[in-house]
């Protein structure tokens, strides 16, 4: 009991040692990796787990009658239990493995969306959504002659809750919203957003791609109906992600793709589908990905999500203070509650040029619209420079970044 009360000490230098890539050089300078919202780096434990899987128990799962297939199957199924605990789901049957957040949202749009949205209905998203939480709903609404409604945001990049409330009516069949904005770092009040939707019996999907590794997520306490995220943004491997769905919803939904593993019996006349979550996992799944994801969750847990959140908050605040002092820098997205991403423009200069110049100093950032073109349009800009942080980033790196930014601006002006 006592150990649980003692706050774990967060030692960023120790953490950095776990990530082999962080010791490499870029253009003759130490790599400063600030593109974590696109993908995070991987700790050695995750890299080793993938390696170990292929060296020891690679085999196809669930129907092999031999030992290594049983081992691989066990590892895959354990990954579900691990994810279940990680996000506070009720049961591991509510965890569907997908290729990533994009596929998770597509699954919900194709299966749940096509089942429940009809002509004249409405689907609500917000102005700050990633294209992957816009296009699947746009396509669905076009197909069903339904309407896609957009919640407006303030100049600081926060959802206007009063406008949202007004949009909730009996025509709305689903709300789909990001937990944390990939472009501007806003943490949305998802609990409140969900509560309001539920008051009108509207289910809600939360795009948690930028959230699960930055903050504690408990889908039951949030009461989210669907929750989607990717492993590769949370220190895990690429190519695997999760769609959490409440069991009662998943049970009623039709399959998204069909094929092997998602059936219970097949004849040429009729196919009976497997139970959830297998019903939604056609074909050979990404076993190595599931094993890597397990390891990534273990890694995050070993550091502690509260500690990570605190550290990243400090980094974001420090970076914000530092770049605010640079003339002609304007921060895009100044929500009170933010984490992860710091977006900015430099007046008179293109974001692309800043990004290219920062790279020559070893600093990796992302430039452009960050797959949120409508959000950029809201701010009347073509794009931003985005520095996005992870648990292994340091204040010293922020100093390298701000000094490189000053120099880049001088060269470009």
């Amino acid at each position: 009991m006592e150990t649980a009360l003692v706050k774990k000490i967060f030692d960023v230098d120790q953490v950095r040692k776990d990530f082999p890539i962080l010791s490499r050089e870029v253009n003759g300078k130490p790599l400063v990796y600030f593109d974590n919202a696109a993908t995070s780096q991987k700790p050695l434990s995750v890299i080793n787990a993938l390696d170990n899987y292929y060296k020891t128990c690679n085999s196809n799962i669930h129907r092999g009658v031999y030992l290594i297939s049983a081992e691989a199957s066990e590892a895959y199924d354990k990954a579900k239990d691990k994810v279940k605990e990680f996000i506070g789901a009720k049961d591991s049957s509510e965890i569907i493995f997908t290729r990533g957040t994009t596929e998770a949202i597509n699954l919900a749009a194709y299966s749940y969306g096509r089942q429940s949205v009809t002509e004249g209905d409405e689907v609500i998203i917000s102005t700050m959504e990633h294209h992957s939480n816009i296009v699947p709903w746009q396509v669905l609404c076009d197909e069903k002659k339904a309407k896609l409604k957009i919640i407006p945001i303030t100049d600081s990049g926060e959802i206007i809750m009063d406008e949202y409330k007004k949009m909730l009516n009996e025509k709305v069949k689903l709300v789909s919203i990001c937990h944390i904005s990939n472009s501007i770092g806003t943490i949305n009040p998802v609990k409140e957003i969900i509560k309001l939707a539920h008051e009108k019996n509207i289910p809600i999907l939360v795009d948690g791609a930028q959230a699960v590794h930055h903050t504690k997520v408990d889908v039951q306490s949030l009461d989210a109906d669907f929750y989607a995220f990717s492993a590769h943004k949370m220190y895990g491997p690429m190519g695997i992600g999760v769609l959490y769905g409440k069991a009662e919803l998943l049970e009623q939904m039709p399959p998204y793709q069909t094929g092997g593993d998602m059936i219970s019996s097949v004849s040429f006349e009729k196919t009976d589908y497997n139970e959830i979550p297998m019903k939604f996992e056609a074909g050979t799944p990404n076993v190595e990905g599931a094993i890597g994801l397990t390891e990534a969750i273990d890694y995050i847990n070993s550091i502690g999500r509260d500690q990570i959140h605190e550290h990243e908050k400090e980094i974001l605040e420090y970076a914000t203070e530092e770049i605010e002092q640079i003339e002609s820098v304007k921060i895009i997205g100044t929500a009170r509650n933010k984490t992860g991403s710091l977006s900015f423009i430099v007046e008179g200069l293109s974001a692309l040029d800043i990004g290219i110049m920062l790279d020559t100093f070893g600093v990796a950032v992302r430039t452009g619209h960050h797959c949120t073109e409508p959000l950029m349009r809201r701010f009347k800009i073509p794009g931003t420079v985005r520095a996005s942080f992870a648990m292994y980033n340091t204040k010293e790196e922020i100093d390298v970044f701000t000094s490189a930014l000053r120099k880049s601006i001088n060269i470009l002006k």
Binding site: I356, T360, G368, L412
Partner: protein, 144 residues
């Protein structure tokens, strides 16, 4: 006697060989970008935009005594610098020369490895567009 595309490419390769690192190379490209002549404001239209760029690029051509003259602009100074290099090599040349230009200097100065891998700067899209114009003119010449 005007210089051939090949000769200009060699000149550029020589100039870049003096730079120790990419920071210097970019500073030079940025200077070229800043110096690129003013682009006619009325040509800054969607029609003249080159697709495939993270930055906006406008490209127009003119026929002058049998050769093709390029004018271009961008909101990115670095992209403008890259355009300046391409214009230096290709502008004022015949359609045949432009179509057949190998543009090996891009490899030689390391630009391909450094920039052409990413779609962001649209270097490849720009070259393609310049060659498309040349092919267009060449087809017209053959029809006449």
């Amino acid at each position: 006697m005007t210089k051939s595309i090949y000769e200009i490419e060699n000149e550029i390769t020589d100039e870049f060989s003096f730079f120790a690192d990419w920071q210097d190379k970019y500073e030079y490209i940025i200077e070229l970008g800043k110096k690129l002549k003013d682009f006619p404001e009325d040509k800054r239209t969607a029609e003249n935009m080159v697709k495939g760029c993270q930055s906006s690029v406008w490209l127009v051509t003119e026929r002058l005594n049998g050769s093709i003259v390029f004018k271009a602009d961008s909101d990115s100074t670095i992209v403008k610098g890259l355009i300046a290099l391409l214009i230096r090599v290709l502008s004022g040349k015949s359609s045949d020369e432009i179509v057949n230009a190998k543009l090996e200097f891009i490899d030689k100065i390391g630009l391909r490895q450094h920039l052409a891998q990413t779609r962001a700067n649209g270097l490849a899209a720009m070259i393609k567009q310049m060659k498309m114009y040349a092919i267009g003119y060449k087809t017209k010449e053959q029809l006449n």
